[in-house]
Amino acid sequence: MKRLALLVLLLAAAPTARAATPGPGVVANVAQGKSLYAANCARCHGPRGEGIHDRGPSLRDAGALEADFYLRTGYMPLDDPHSQPWRTRVLFGEQELRSLIAYVASLGHGAPIPTPQWRGASVASGLKLFRDHCAGCHQIVAQGGIVIGARVPPLNKSTPRQVAEAVRSGPYLMPRFSTKAITPTQLNDIVAYVQSTKHPDDRGGWGLGHLGPWPEGMVTWLLAASILVATCAVIGRRLKA
């Protein structure tokens, strides 16, 4: 009981602790965040988040938005600063994550965690926006792809919040879109569209990964052609002498 009171006191005393939406019982602890930062991030991002040349960028204006994105996708911590961050298993617990995010947010004046209101947004408008801004790299139903210098991830595992964060921050080689380029309403529509791509309306049956001609070619040659040749072989078996 005394320890809990101490914790609450510490939190009240830390003016820049900004947790996103504190769930029941999970409270961000900036001090804990600071020690987690020192253990996992300072090696590349510097002891005070100022960045280290050729290792990691400055986190001064990353804010809770970018910290939340990079940490919850498992992009960070990154083993090799020259490799592309990719979605991996998150080893931090929920409380540790919130603490770390709160600490990184406290380093500067970055953006807060967004809360996209995508339910009820227009999927049709989202499709158009996604097609114009995103589909070039991410593919029209968000299956991912490549751009020269990086793999482009599919979005089937991205939560609505992560989509919004990625659009606003432009992780790795992705361009960033401010509220001027993509308004909050438009962002909601895009998120709604991305959500819809996770459950595509495949009226035609098996979607073949939604990748178009080349899986169709595979099915034609490996499945259909094999079955037809086998059928010919069965029908046309040589007469026994």
Binding site: G170, A181, I235
Partner: protein, 317 residues
């Protein structure tokens, strides 16, 4: 009722009764097709298969009639596909088990008919025996038919502006034309932010033209605009990469999704990677009094995929 019953019974007897009769006259000729013993099992199988075909075909009609059937396309496909597959199976069973398989040999037909060939030659020769100057007639005839053929093909030229190929370097941009976005709103210079990319079109021009769409980006050196059409095979350049951390990540570049030609916006559209054979045409820009972006001229190179003479042809309106 009993008349109907009589008619029905006699109908059935007549139909079934037919299978036993054989016309006597046919027995006098020797058999052409080899005889074979009946195979009841195969016959039964064929009957079952054909009955199933009827069931599947009927199912297709039923599925078609239903209005709110989930996965209707798949049910329809299954019913029709199965109907055809079972029909095929029935045919295979008939062919393999019921129709007698005979091994026959037959000589190949003659490779050629020398006599007839010679006679044809002779007929042609004799038909034309009244000509005295064969060579000249052949020459003039060939000339006549040849030019007639050319004349017959000439209207095909009207299909397109075949000889006016400077058309390929056309672009609607000219000095003073405003850049507008997808919705027709003018693109303001201050709205073009770094690390993002924008697609723009010439105001009041046809957006479908090859030279219309441009990609606008702001880099360290300022705002630049390039043709959105890749100089390799004409796909729309829809990818833009920008480094979050310039120390470890590649420089900003416009990339084409088709074959990944990569262009550097900071070096006049120079090709950094990929099969594009020439740099991306750049559109010179100016900012007008209202702060909106306008073209300062046409592209510095002909837009679109490359063709023989493209480097020597300037983009023109």
């Amino acid at each position: 009722m009993s008349r109907f019953k009589d008619a029905l019974i006699s109908g059935i007897v007549l139909l079934l009764g037919r299978s036993g009769r054989r016309p006597v006259a046919r027995r006098e000729r020797p058999r052409i097709v080899t005889a074979g013993a009946p195979e009841r099992a195969a016959e039964n199988a064929v009957l079952v298969l054909l009955a199933l075909v009827a069931v599947c075909a009927a199912a297709f009609v039923v599925f078609y009639a239903l209005d709110r059937l989930g996965h209707q396309t798949q049910w329809l496909g299954l019913a029709l596909g199965l109907a055809f597959a079972l029909l095929a199976l029935a045919c295979v069973a008939i062919a393999k088990r019921l129709v007698v398989t005979e091994e026959l040999s037959e000589p190949y037909p003659q490779l050629q008919h020398l006599e007839d060939q010679a006679e044809i030659e002779q007929i042609v020769e004799e038909s034309g025996s009244r000509f005295t100057r064969r060579g000249l007639v052949k020459l003039v005839g060939a000339g006549a038919l040849g030019t007639l053929g050319v004349a017959a093909l000439t209207p095909a030229v009207s299909l397109g502006p075949v000889f006016d190929t400077s058309q390929l370097a056309r672009s609607p941009w000219r000095r003073g034309l405003r850049l507008v976005d997808e919705a027709g709103k003018p693109l303001a210079a201050k709205d073009v932010e770094k690390e993002s990319f924008y697609t723009a079109y010439p105001e009041h021009a046809d957006r479908e033209l090859m030279g219309s769409p441009v990609v606008v980006v702001r880099i360290d050196e300022g705002i630049v605009a390039y043709s959105k059409i890749c100089t390799h095979a004409g796909c729309a350049i829809a990818l833009y990469r920008k480094p979050t951390f310039a120390d470890t990540e590649p420089r900003p570049a416009l990339v084409c999704p088709c074959h990944y030609s990569t262009f550097d916006p900071a070096q006049d559209g120079k090709v950094l990677f990929g099969p594009a054979g020439r740099p991306l045409p750049q559109l010179p820009l100016l900012v007008d009094g209202d702060g909106n972006l306008r073209a300062a001229g046409n592209f510095n190179r002909a837009p679109g995929p490359s063709w023989g003479g493209v480097r020597q042809t300037e983009a023109h309106t």
